[in-house]
């Protein structure tokens, strides 16, 4: 045990003395969260929209003037048919179209019911949602105001159509994605590199000749990065809650427990890479290309997996971050408990045990 503590102290010295790396490791999640947060989900101003007013009556005019008054839109009134609207979208001239049907006010007065069509370019899902929400809110405001004077309440139904990306994948969900990305990077790459470095410098041989157990070498290498990663998770969550106002709806404790599990998965991955490679560059390259890219591509946080070809969908199942991403998203955004995510948890545990077994086996072969 004393040997173990001495070893750990050495590992912490390695990590803490490498100031530049340390700065990157702690700075990266913060900058990523801020960049993703402000670049992707900030409010949308001065978006070009087109209003097609087929009604030209009192109700449509009132709503249009309210939309005009808002600072979010640059409005253009034009009589366009469906095809022309589509064309404007394709050319990127407009972000949204609001269409009033011919008998808008008439329907409201006589049937107490009217429809407004809202079409948005959802290839940028964040902008699309924001814009449609703004317009829906404006319409609801108008409706609420009219209800004060009317005996029978109006019901205006905004019919929202999202062009190009109807599921609106990727909205507000980048925080779980960044957590997965950062953990992947810190745990896999740093662990792999720090073990391979000892192989490169020759100190690994000295350690293997010593009475210190090889298994212990691995564990003590991993512990500093486990702690570092937990600090990173904390800082990401603090930022997302207090700066980006993305709340954690589920249990924080569960979130940390699942994160720890994923960190351990990543650490075993890192150890596995380090067992298989002999140079820091190779270890780094494998971690980046083999781990970071799949995390970005196949975890579902940037690109919807449902839209991928079947083969890639199947492939995405072996990417650990996919499962972790589902878990974090479920806890943070849907606020679910363990009963809803136990399957994903079991998959992650299975992957961890598999990787651990694989690295142990290979580690022994190397020694033989």
């Amino acid at each position: 045990m004393k040997q173990f503590i001495i070893f750990l102290r050495k590992e912490f010295a390695h990590v803490l003395r490498d100031r530049k790396t340390l700065l990157i490791l702690f700075g990266m999640p913060i900058t990523q969260i801020l960049i993703f947060g402000f670049a992707l989900t900030n409010e949308v101003k001065n978006s070009k929209i087109v209003v097609v007013d087929n009604a030209k009556d009192v109700a449509s005019h009132k709503i249009i003037s309210r939309i005009e008054a808002s600072r979010y839109f640059e409005i253009e009134e034009a009589m366009l048919n469906a095809n022309q609207i589509e064309e404007s979208f394709q050319q990127g001239l407009i972000r949204m179209a609001v269409v009033f049907p011919a008998n808008f006010n008439h329907d409201l007065v006589h049937q107490n019911k009217g429809q407004v069509q809202i079409i948005a370019d959802a290839s940028d899902p964040n902008t699309a949602t924001t814009l449609t929400n703004y317009v829906s809110a404006i319409i609801q405001d108008y409706q609420a105001e009219m209800d004060k004077v009317n005996a029978i309440p109006y019901r205006i139904e905004p019919q929202v159509r999202m062009l190009y990306n109807p599921q609106l994948k990727g909205v507000h969900n980048f925080v779980p994605g960044v957590i997965a990305l950062v953990l992947m990077l810190v745990c896999v790459m740093m662990t792999a590199v720090s073990i391979v470095r000892e192989k490169e410098t020759g100190t690994m041989e000295i350690l293997l000749v010593s009475p210190f157990k090889p298994m212990m070498v691995m564990i003590s290498k991993a512990i500093p990065y486990l702690i570092l990663s937990l600090i990173n998770v904390t800082s990401i969550l603090l930022l997302s809650v207090f700066v980006l106002k993305v709340p954690v709806n589920g249990s924080i404790l569960l979130l940390f427990a699942e994160s720890t599990l994923f960190i351990i998965t990543c650490l075993t991955l890192g150890i596995f890479i380090s067992v298989k490679t002999n140079s820091q560059q190779v270890a780094m390259l494998i971690s980046l290309m083999g781990m970071m890219l799949p995390t970005i591509l196949f975890s579902g946080f940037m690109f919807p997996i449902e839209n991928m070809p079947k083969a890639l969908q199947i492939f995405s199942n072996i990417v650990p971050s996919k499962w972790f991403y589902i878990i974090v998203k479920s806890i943070m955004i849907k606020g679910v408990g363990f009963s809803e995510i136990w399957k994903e948890t079991v998959i992650l545990i299975g992957m961890t045990i598999f990787l651990l077994g694989l690295s142990l086996k290979n580690f022994k072969i190397r020694l033989a």
Binding site: Q3, F7, K10, T201, E205, I206, P211
Partner: protein, 245 residues
């Protein structure tokens, strides 16, 4: 004389390739045993087997009285090892390196403290004790490396080309350290490519293509091969080698 290393027909195969072929020899306590051979002759393989880093394919061996197959943990406690690569931590200070290696060999805090004081005294490193090892010149690093390898007072210390790339003066100083350790009863098992260093050894063995072709004191070897220097002896033996790098 007490035998500390004893091998009988020790063999290591990698597929069809026989890296070490039925090696048999004995090394005695307090001896400086030189282990020579051209590149690829199988020195490192043999040494790795003796250190417990590699499992032999066949044959027997005991190190410090312990069986090489079954008692590797006991062997590890009783040997020191210094590889051809510099093997201390660059980003730790001299003192921290000493503490670390003392620690993983299970020395007590007091032992570590006493040892590091005497070691720093001996190497004259008072000024540098709290500096990072990376700032030391190579020669000093090697001396420090050796001192760390014998810190836990092993029965045997294995040195794998310890003086590669070191200037002659520092090499001489390095060998002073080796003699000192040998006088304390530590057995030295050293591989080298420098023939002047071979002359410093009590006995040497020369490996050619996985086999030990000669094993004797330097003066006897020179007599047997009718040579004036170890260089010639080595050349006569190694010339017949079929494998190399």
């Amino acid at each position: 004389m007490e035998t500390v290393i004893k091998t009988e027909n020790l063999t290591k195969r990698f597929g069809d390739f026989i890296a070490a072929n039925e090696i048999s020899f004995e090394v005695y306590k307090g001896e400086i045993f030189g282990f020579l051979g051209a590149n690829g002759a199988g020195k490192t393989t043999a040494m790795r087997m003796l250190c417990g880093l590699s499992i032999p394919s066949s044959g027997k061996a005991t190190i410090a009285g312990y069986d090489i197959y079954r008692q590797t943990e006991l062997i590890k406690k009783n040997i020191g090892y210094m590889s051809q690569k510099f093997s201390l931590y660059d980003d730790l200070t001299i003192l921290e390196n000493i503490q670390f290696f003392g620690g993983i060999y299970g020395l007590s805090n007091k032992q570590i403290k006493d040892k590091s004081e005497s070691l720093i005294e001996q190497l004259g490193l008072h000024q540098e004790a709290k500096k990072l090892v990376v700032s030391l010149p190579l020669g000093w690093k090697q001396k420090l490396s050796f001192s760390v390898a014998v810190l836990h007072e092993p029965k045997i210390v294995f040195l794998d080309e310890p003086t590669g790339g070191v200037d002659p003066v520092t090499r001489r100083q390095f060998w002073d350290l080796i003699y000192e350790a040998a006088n304390r009863g530590v057995t030295i098992f050293v591989t080298t490519h420098y023939m002047d260093e071979a002359e410093y050894c009590n006995r040497i063995s020369i490996m050619v293509d996985g086999k030990i072709e000669a094993l004797d004191t330097p003066s006897h070897l020179k007599k047997t091969f009718a040579a004036t220097s170890m260089d010639e002896v080595f050349y006569q033996l190694a010339r017949g080698a079929k494998r190399g790098d």
